[in-house]
Structures are given as structure tokens and as C-alpha cells.
């Protein structure tokens, strides 16, 4: 369903003084559709509760940024969105998550993960060549094994979207693990895009990147938001401010505040948000 685009923009009156230097690279969304709905989600590892009764929507046409101090449950929340939490034996999930109004518990996990793909905090390219890393996704999702020639255009375009193609086009057969950390992370993003997801989960994708590659990724994310619902976890508040339409601030497993980026950074409702945000911008 279409919700009215939140009325905020970079030059609005709400811009706080601390952010006057920061530039928002994102305009108002053209549209926004609710694709996922997190409803009263709690996740606990054995006795420790990592996510406590969190509810929020995830919309296509917008970028959602999750911020919060280390260990507050951002990764855990992200992993439960495509049921990766099920791989952790101690993890217990309660509450509901809907994808297009269907409970994801009813979707076969593999199918769910094709629609909701994830890029991890630690770059994890497979121990294969650069080409095979991306071709792997295309091959294993299909039922028939395709030849290299037929996959080439798709692989190239995925690499191109992640801003990696120019750097690796001559070395597509080199081991992916020999790439630099930043290149590896962009390869992982390319891989996730090659799967043509409907929702893309990015867990601190830029933590290993130089400013230039970060710029590439941010531009990519902004361009993607019309096709894919993007959720990004970041410790870089400037980045969240630059690219996010909505921001969720988590603290010790609680969702403290969820709202439009300009609101959360400009005039947060909660004191804890205020402290966290201003602490970062001094």
C-alpha cells in the first residue's frame, strides 16, 4: 500500500545545527510500499534477550537505516528477517514477520532467502574465482546448469552495479579471497544483487571501505531503493543521515525510536536517542 511520503527534505527547518555540514544525498521518495512488517519480534539466545518486542515496517522506495551501539541487536534483527537465526541453535524467535502480508514462517526458507538476501558484516566471498562467486548464485538458484557465456552479461552487470567491474574486469578468474577487504565486500554486495532480491539487508557494508568505495555503495543504495526495499545497519551516523529515509535507533535490544531520518537526527523524541545522536556529532 502506498503511504504518503513523509514530508521531509534536506533543507527543512528540522535540520539540527550539528548536521548543517552533512549533506543528504537522497531526495524525497517517489513512492513507498510496505513490503515487510515486523510485529512484536523478540529474539533470545539461550537466556539472553537480544531483541525485545520490536515492531517496524520495511518499505520499498525507501532506505531504512538501523543505528545503535554495539551489541544492541541490530545484526540479530536483520538475521531474523530472512530466518538466518534458525541456523543458531540457541536462538529463539517469537513474534511475527510478514513479507507481502505472508508470515515468513510459512515461506520455505530457501525461497524466502532468495527474496530477502543479506550482506554480512564480515566480507565472506566464497573460496572461488570472482566470476564463480556471482555465477554460483545464478547457477544454484536455477534448476539447469548454465554455461559461462550465458551467465556473463548478468555477472558483469551485477559487478557493475556494485562499482567493482572496472577494477576486476581483467581478473575475473582470480581467487576472490585475494581481493582487498573493500573489494571483497563489494563483491558480496554484487552477489546479493545478482540474486535479484526484493529486500536487501546490508549489515555494516561500508565498515571496511575507503571513502570513495563508500560513496559508490551509497549511490548504489539510493538508486536501488525504488526496486528493492533496503535495510542498512551502520555505525556511521553521517552515513545514515546521508542515505536513509527512515531511521530505527536500537538500544540494548529495544527499539527506542523509529521515524523519518530528519526527525530522528533533528529533533528526536527520546532522550537516549538525543544522547546517542549528539554524542556522535559532538
Amino acid at each position: 500500500m502506498v503511504v504518503p511520503a513523509p514530508s521531509h527534505n534536506g533543507n527543512g527547518a528540522a535540520t539540527p545545527s550539528g548536521f548543517s555540514g552533512a549533506r543528504r544525498s537522497i531526495g524525497s521518495p517517489q513512492f513507498s510500499i510496505r513490503r515487510m512488517e515486523v510485529d512484536q519480534l523478540s529474539v533470545s539466545y539461550a537466556a539472553r534477550e537480544a531483541v525485545k518486542s520490536v515492531s517496524l515496517p520495511i518499505r520499498q522506495g525507501e532506505v531504512l537505516a538501523m543505528i545503535g551501539p554495539s551489541g544492541c541487536g541490530k545484526t540479530t534483527l536483520l538475521r531474523s528477517l530472512n530466518r538466518l537465526t534458525e541456523l543458531t541453535r540457541t536462538a529463539r524467535v517469537s513474534g511475527r514477520i510478514l513479507l507481502d502480508d505472508v508470515d515468513i514462517g510459512l515461506i520455505e526458507p530457501t525461497l524466502l532467502r532468495r527474496r530477502v538476501t543479506m550482506v554480512f558484516q564480515q566480507p565472506n566471498p566464497f573460496p572461488m574465482s570472482v566470476f564463480d562467486n556471482i555465477a554460483y548464485v545464478l547457477r544454484e538458484q536455477g534448476s539447469r546448469r548454465q554455461r559461462r557465456k550465458t551467465l556473463e552479461p548478468q555477472v558483469h552487470s551485477a559487478l557493475d552495479r556494485a562499482g567493482l567491474f572496472e577494477e576486476v574486469k581483467d581478473n575475473l578468474d582470480h581467487p576472490a579471497l585475494r581481493l582487498s577487504g573493500g573489494q571483497q565486500q563489494r563483491l558480496c554486495i554484487a552477489r546479493a544483487l545478482a540474486a535479484e532480491p526484493e529486500v536487501l539487508l546490508l549489515d555494516e557494508p561500508c565498515s571496511a571501505l575507503d571513502p570513495q568505495s563508500t560513496q559508490v555503495i551509497e549511490d548504489l543504495i539510493v538508486n536501488l531503493r525504488d526496486d528493492v526495499a533496503v535495510v542498512i545497519v551502520t555505525h556511521n551516523l553521517q552515513q545514515a543521515y546521508r542515505i536513509a529515509d527512515h531511521v530505527a535507533f536500537m538500544y540494548l535490544g529495544d527499539l527506542v525510536e523509529y521515524g523519518a531520518a530528519t526527525t530522528v537526527f533533528g529533533s528526536p523524541r527520546e532522550k537516549r536517542t538525543q544522547e546517542y545522536v549528539s554524542g556522535a556529532f559532538g
Binding site: L84, F126, P127, P175, R191, A192
Partner: protein
């Protein structure tokens, strides 16, 4: 108190240099022992190889008759020593039995290891893991005993048909001591060893790779085979090599079940060849161990040992090379 402490730690007995030298000497001694072993085996084997040349490995005559001749010649003076020996029957039998057993064990071990590490529900893997460890630790002579008393009679009484028995009546008797029994029991013996090395390899695959693949919507089965098994290839090679070396060197169990005649079963004869007896290299040494006192027989047995040693070493070397080349894409050991 204090002084005793000091004298013990800084005193001459355990001074660091001295300890390092002592341990270094120990290590050198182990290395020298291995070199001595290799040198001795080849030195003792030399007369047999020298007299036969490449024909040693070729066909010709019956190995058992040849060994007998060699032994008898050793009872006289050195002038009369006979060394004529053509080991083809033994080599062929070793190849068939080891190859068959490794092939069977390899595929079943791979599936069991994958099952154990990735797919078995917890109660099942809690049972399967100790089972594999137990099967790997059963002494080979027990496998041999069960083979002789259960498998061999079963093959002899139920699998071999009368026409088959009659068709080879003049040449060889089909009593159940057979290639089939040897292959099956040897496979059972080495499969647990392979399984435990394979599953160690699968367990040490970086979980991030598996999660990465699952997070892209590739199902567990394909993730396991395309990522886990692929990256664990060095461990798979290592396990296969070790198990093959064990299979080639297995003497006593095969001496018990493979039948006690030197014979080269020919696959061209049809399915019957798996029921034919055949004795590989290692059991030949055990069977003829009483002949060690005869100089030429001694040399012949050491020549067989030299071939075993050489092939075991070559397997390790080949495995090492294979593992090295796989590291290129970051596969783990």
C-alpha cells in the same frame, strides 16, 4: 625453597639451551630412524630387483611356485641362489582390492561425513559420531575373523552358484575366500577412518561461507556440496590418501579373507572374477614370513616391502601436491 626453585629452573640440568639441544637430538634421531628404515628396506631388496630388472613387475609364472623355488635355493650356497620373481599377480590383486575398497569407502564416507556434519538431527549425530570412532578403532584382526567366519561362508554358500564353481573347477576353487570378501571388509575397515577425517574437514569450513550461501537462497544440500565439500577438498584428499596407504599396507586381515593363493582374477571373465581368490602384496609377506631365514627369499620379501613403502610414500606425496594446488582459492586444510 627459593634456591631449590632457582637451581631447578636455571641450573645446568634444565637450562634452556641444553633442553633445546636434547630435544633437537631426539628429533634428529627420529628422522635418522626413518632414513635408516628406508635405506635398510631398499638395501635388503636390492638383490631381488637387480636380478629381475623390470620383469619383477611383469607377469610370468605362478608367484607361489617362484617363492618356493627361491626359498629352496637359499638352503644351499650363495652360488645357487635363485631370484626369479614376477610379481604381476600380487600387484594386480593389490590394485583390484585396494582400488575397489577405496572407491566404495570414498563415496560412502563422503555421504556419511556430510550427513554427520550437516544433516543428521542431533540424536542421530550423537550416535553416529561415536559409532564412526568405534568402527575406526576395531582391530583389523577382528574384521578378519568376522570376515572368515561370516562373510566368506556366506559368499561361498549363497552367492557363488554351482555352474560358476564348475566352470573354473580345474583352475581354482571358489570357496568364498574371494576378491569380493576382501574388498567389502577392507572398505568397511577404511571407511570410518576416511569419514572421521572428512568430517573434521567439513567442520572446519568457515561458517560465514555457508551462511553467505544460504543467505542468497541456495538450499542446504547444494550449499553443503558446492561450498562445504568444495572447501574441504584438501581434507578429503588427505583422508583418501591416508586410507589408501592403510589399505595397501593391510596384511593380516587380507591374509585371512582373500584366499591364500596367488591368482590374478580377470575382469574379462565376467562377474565371476569377484568370487575368485587372490592375494595382494602385503599378505604375501605375512604368509611367507617363515622363509625369512633363506637369503634370497628374505630379499624377495623385502622387495615386496619396498614396493609397499614406495607406493605409500608416493600416495602421501601426491596428496601433498594436490592439497597445495587447492589452496589457491583458499580451500582449508
Amino acid at each position: 625453597m627459593e634456591e631449590a626453585h632457582l637451581s631447578e629452573e636455571y641450573g645446568p640440568r634444565w637450562s634452556d639451551q641444553r633442553a633445546e639441544r636434547l630435544l633437537g637430538a631426539l628429533v634428529c634421531a627420529v628422522v635418522v630412524l626413518l632414513l635408516a628404515l628406508i635405506a635398510t628396506v631398499f638395501w635388503r631388496a636390492w638383490p631381488s630387483f637387480a636380478h629381475n630388472g623390470l620383469a619383477w613387475f611383469g607377469p610370468g609364472g605362478n608367484v607361489d611356485d617362484q617363492i618356493n623355488q627361491i626359498y629352496l635355493s637359499g638352503l644351499g650356497g650363495p652360488e645357487g641362489y635363485v631370484y626369479t620373481f614376477h610379481a604381476w599377480q600380487l600387484l594386480w590383486s593389490t590394485f583390484l582390492i585396494t582400488g575397489g575398497a577405496v572407491l566404495i569407502a570414498f563415496f560412502s564416507s563422503l555421504f556419511v561425513a556430510v550427513f554427520l556434519v550437516e544433516f543428521a538431527p542431533e540424536p542421530m549425530s550423537n550416535v553416529l559420531a561415536p559409532v564412526v570412532r568405534f568402527l575406526a578403532s576395531v582391530p583389523s584382526v577382528i574384521y578378519g575373523l568376522l570376515g572368515v567366519l561370516l562373510v566368506v561362508p556366506f559368499i561361498g554358500n549363497h552367492l557363488v552358484t554351482e555352474p560358476q564353481r564348475a566352470s573354473v573347477a580345474g583352475v581354482i576353487s571358489l570357496s568364498g575366500y574371494s576378491l569380493l570378501a576382501a574388498v567389502l571388509i577392507l572398505a568397511l575397515m577404511i571407511a570410518p577412518l576416511m569419514t572421521s577425517i572428512f568430517s573434521d574437514g567439513l567442520r572446519s569450513v568457515r561458517p560465514g561461507w555457508l551462511e553467505g550461501s544460504l543467505a542468497l537462497g541456495v538450499n542446504r544440500w547444494r550449499t553443503t556440496w558446492k561450498i562445504a565439500v568444495r572447501t574441504a577438498r584438501p581434507a578429503i584428499v588427505a583422508g583418501t590418501v591416508l586410507a589408501t596407504a592403510r589399505a595397501i599396507g593391510e596384511a593380516v586381515m587380507l591374509a585371512m579373507v582373500s584366499g591364500s593363493v596367488a591368482f590374478a582374477p580377470n575382469p574379462a571373465d565376467g562377474l565371476i572374477f569377484i568370487f575368485e581368490p587372490s592375494r595382494p602384496l602385503a599378505p604375501t609377506i605375512v604368509k611367507n614370513i617363515d622363509l625369512l631365514g633363506s637369503e634370497p627369499a628374505n630379499s624377495t620379501l623385502f622387495a615386496i616391502a619396498a614396493v609397499l613403502l614406495f607406493s605409500a610414500t608416493m600416495f602421501s606425496l601426491a596428496g601433498w601436491v594436490a592439497r597445495r594446488s587447492m589452496r589457491k582459492y583458499g580451500a582449508t586444510a
